[in-house]
């Protein structure tokens, strides 16, 4: 017994280190903060409240970047405005002719970004709308430019978004021109990568990438970004397609939460099919 105590005293630093390392890995295996439920809502609310208190402090770097972006946007909008006037007339006529169903109008909840955690690559944002305003976990967020991210937690007055430029984000996407499908993932800075596109498929630089209707989490046909580079992945049958996000996350201040609730009928059908497949594969 004395020897054991002597051993523990002698190697207490290494024993403590091993214990803490094991505890850290155990915590990591538990998963992210969303599994802490109510505790998380308290943290989100408190941090959001503190960030909103200091949201009035201007960030000169972000302001300069926002000015440049707004000037470019203004120029683009002037051109787009003229085009869209003509397109609206054409569109209306064509819809009537083809009897296309009207697109579903999503309910949008306007929100201000009161805090951003883009430091050290933890790309989350806090908005000043919460469960009281109808914001729920799993709702997606957009701006006029395109897809921003998804709500991963909400308290009464605040919600936290996982931005598109987050390592955990996966979005089912398609090429607007060729309808080629793939999965959008973030790989650093403002660039995304469209994965799982075979080499034989037609995707070119300049193509617009939209959310796919395959996704139950994101509404379909929301702009994600534009293809800036197409190459071939080494030792792979797939292409490496680099996409520049449409949204400028550095200057993100206002956004809309899209009140989409995925169809319970669809979710139920997909769940039943999964179960049936699993039963068939079990001997």
């Amino acid at each position: 017994m004395r020897r054991l105590i002597e051993f523990v005293v002698r190697f207490k630093n290494y024993i403590t280190l091993s214990t803490l390392v094991v505890m850290s890995f155990a915590l990591m295996s538990v998963g992210n903060l969303s599994q802490l439920g109510g505790f998380r809502a308290v943290i989100v609310g408190s941090i959001g409240w503190m960030q909103s208190l200091f949201a009035w402090i201007p960030n000169p770097v972000a302001l300069k970047s926002e000015n440049v972006a707004l000037r470019e946007l203004n120029l683009q909008l002037a051109v787009e405005s003229a085009r869209s006037r003509q397109s609206m007339v054409e569109n209306s006529t064509l819809r009537k002719m083809l009897e296309l169903p009207q697109y579903t109008d999503y309910t949008l909840i306007a929100a201000d970004v009161v805090g951003k955690t883009t430091t050290q690559l933890r790309n989350y944002a806090t908005i000043n709308k919460g469960t009281k305003d109808g914001v729920r976990e799993g709702m997606s967020c957009i701006t006029d430019a395109g897809l921003v991210g998804i709500v991963i937690g909400a308290s009464q007055h605040y919600a936290v978004l996982q931005l598109l430029i987050n390592r955990d984000t996966r979005v089912s996407a398609k090429d607007q021109r060729t309808r080629v499908d793939g999965i959008i993932q973030w790989e650093g800075e403002n660039f995304l990568v469209l994965k799982d596109v075979p080499r034989a498929y037609d995707v070119q630089a300049g193509d617009l990438i939209l959310t796919s209707s395959y996704s139950a989490r994101y509404p379909a046909n929301i702009v994600i970004g534009r293809v800036v580079d197409v190459g071939d992945e080494s030792n792979s049958l797939f292409r490496r397609i680099v996409v520049e996000a449409a949204v400028n996350f550095a200057t993100l201040e206002q956004l809309f939460v899209v009140d989409t609730r995925s169809s319970s009928e669809r979710a139920e059908l997909e769940r039943l099919t999964d179960e049936r497949q699993r039963q068939r594969s079990t001997p």
Partner: protein, 177 residues
């Protein structure tokens, strides 16, 4: 004379329980400052790691054992307030505290912190911290770890080392008084 400046000077610092409560309060304040204010001084999304500086400080003042525990708790606190994966920062900061603890010399804490050695210790602990943290960070992504570490890990370490100049100068100045 210089050594007398050490923790024995005030009653607060001489009482271990009060000292540890003070450490907890400082860690909480630093975590909140990090999340709420550090975006204003970020350079290309890189910010100094205030809790790493604090972990190194505690390890140099209290020793390796306390440094490790402080690193674990600071990391856990940061994981909670920054909505990160629980345990990632805790692991990285535990190892940083363990590394910094090797430089602990009884009664010489403020001499070490008020010297350039503190910057070197922060840099070494920072490299260990960021190696571990970014290794865990890039795991779910299909990107080259080395390039990612050279880009973000080294930059974060350098920025933290630069920020460590302030506590170093503060201690240096107080020691001279």
């Amino acid at each position: 004379m210089a050594l007398n400046f050490d923790v024995q000077r005030s009653h607060l610092m001489a009482t271990p329980s009060l000292r540890f409560i003070l450490y907890a309060v400082v860690a909480l304040i630093l975590a909140v400052i990090h999340v709420v204010f550090l975006g204003y001084i970020s350079v290309s999304s890189v910010t100094p790691d205030l809790l790493l500086l604090f972990t190194v400080w505690v390890a140099l003042v209290e020793g390796q054992f306390t440094g490790m525990v402080a690193g674990f708790l600071c990391g856990l606190l940061f994981d909670v307030v920054s909505a990160d994966v629980l345990g990632a920062n805790a692991l990285a900061k535990t190892l940083a505290g363990f590394t910094a603890g090797y430089f602990w010399r009884e009664g010489f804490a403020m001499v070490t912190i008020g010297h350039y050695r503190y910057l070197m210790i922060v840099a070494i602990a920072g490299v260990i911290h960021n190696l571990v943290y970014y290794l865990l960070y890039v795991q779910p992504m299909q990107i080259d770890f080395l390039m990612f570490f050279l880009k973000y890990g080294v930059a974060t370490t350098l920025y933290s080392t630069v920020a460590a100049v302030f506590p170093m100068l503060y201690v240096n100045r107080r020691r001279d008084q």
